[in-house]
Amino acid sequence: MRHRATPGPDGAGEPLVRFAAVSKRFAGVPAVNELSLDIYPGEFFALLGPSGCGKTTLLRMLAGFETPDEGQVRLAGEDLAAMPPHRRPVNMMFQSYALFPHLTVAGNVAFGLHQDRMAKSAIKARVEEMLALVKLDGLGSRKPDQLSGGQRQRVALARSLAKRPKVLLLDEPLAALDKKLREETQFELMDLQERLGTTFIIVTHDQEEAMTVADRIAVMDEGEIVQVAAPSEIYERPKSRWVAGFIGDINLIEGGVVEANGTGAVIEDSGGRRFHVAEANGVSVGAKVAIALRPEKLRIAAAASAANEANSVRGRVWDIGYLGDKSVYKVRLADGTQMKASVANVTRIVERPISWDDEVRLSWSPSAAVLLTR
């Protein structure tokens, strides 16, 4: 069971890792742009963004492989600028795993311990402990090229944990695994992090992965942080159209605010339809906003049925995607906008009540939608 209070800015005290107005350019092109971020002890923190958003550069600056052009990277209050990578109390698990091909599995795990001139018997004990931790007992004498991809991934993990780092950096650690193994490993990573209590920072472009493993997620785009929050917060209250679209599926209805007060807001779209939103989110009358709706929060019914929600639109089913656990209905409205509604397949339906080209009504409650100003 994983039931830990989410550490965060409130209550957890001093940050363990602090990026303070950090910038990094490669050949004049900014990779990270005046970015500030605090990560707290014991967090499982995810840096999430599309490729090229600067998330890996951020991680490599913490490991010491890149030097920031401006700003500071601090670990436990200490500025890391003058500290070479081999002295930093952080360890990294590389995307390519970077296992030493000339060393055995045990040799790989022991590599960092040898650098610390640890006693031989202590090294042996630690290696065995680490291999047991990642369930590779008995494979210590193998060479990396005799292992499967999943096993290599575990060796890399054991090696990066062997020195008991203050922070473990994971650079797309599961990208090379197939989907099923990846999902299993995600839960193992969470379990491991909880048992060890080490701060984990994971870099990933896979939003599901970030949502699954992380306590907090920083969504990055073009070298900047767009939103930092817990996974549910990011999903349910995205800060901008971009975040809403990047994390999961979203329907956006653009419109202007015609009414806003403590009990909610009313938005009118270009076609004159009015929608109620429960949270005004601080908008004022006249503002251009978007109503963001997750597909699973829409209800779909035959057009003839009575509207039982505050908001509804009518359209025609244009496509149906059957995904096994759910079906996604693509509905085209009269004005050409397309909306997606997903419905859990609670029964083993063979005949769908709604089919292609049916006239349908999509409806949702005022509390299901979020207003986006950016």
């Binding site: 492989f65 081999h86 360890n91 990294m92 970077a98 960092g112 090229d145 990066s160 020195k163």
Partner: protein
Amino acid sequence: MVPLGRRAADKVSAMPAPPQPPRSSSAKLVVLAPYLWLVAFFFVPFLIVLKISLSQTAIAQPPYLPVLDLAAGWQGIKDFVAGLSLENYATLASDDLYFFSYLRSLTVAAVSTVILVLAGFPIAYAMARAPRRWRPVLLMLVVLPFWTSFLIRVYAWINILQRDGLLNQTLSALGLIDQPLTWLATDTAIYIGLVYSYLPFMVLPLYASLEKLDDSLLEAAADLGCPRWKAFWTVTVPLALPGLGAGALLCFIPIVGEFVVPDLLGGSDTTMIGQTLWTEFFANKDWPVASAVAVVLVVLLVGPIAIYQHLQSRGVENR
């Protein structure tokens, strides 16, 4: 190189074999081709040399006896076998000229190989670390000397090393020497010539090994607390060993039998085995002794290959 091929083959055999489609006869021929080549151009000539080494010198055409006379039938074969002897090998053992020739060849080859490793490693390392777009150019520069004949390049060294040659001129122009030094006909000249001639054979395999080295391995070493200089010895060098071994063999073996460089640049006081062989063959017209010298040389050279293969296979077993 045979040893590298073996290593690769071992790697493959460690994995489950993929189902193979039945080989067509033309595919079989392709596999056979290198073996046919080896039989025709190595094994058969070696047997001929081996046979001559068991014969006696004679003033005849060919200049040795016995000659297999198949026209005489069974008796001819019996006479032929009876005529063979190990006499020439006894000659090699009794005269320490041969022993010292072999010893000198092995010494010169060993010392040259060490110098080649020391000179070749930094070059190969710098090439492998150079920006990617520079590498083809650097590779080209290493291979460039091959565009001129080997013999002509060694003759050019005579010019450079002679008493009023370029080297002495340069040194005195720099004020480093008052009197011209004697370079030619010394061991130094032999080593200069050998290292110059064989450097590409050391640099190319080393470069091939070093170029494959993934940068993230060095980052991983640093990440785990290993300073840069130490990672060179714990990561870079071990991973360059296959290239180092191939380069050392590619240099050591031909240098043992080298004739041109010591003959043109070296002195006449001590000879390498290649020169001894040449003298026996062309000056003394003693084909059988020359052949015996060659056979012993081949046996001596198989030694280091066997050791290398042994080390390689031990490396494989340690996996």
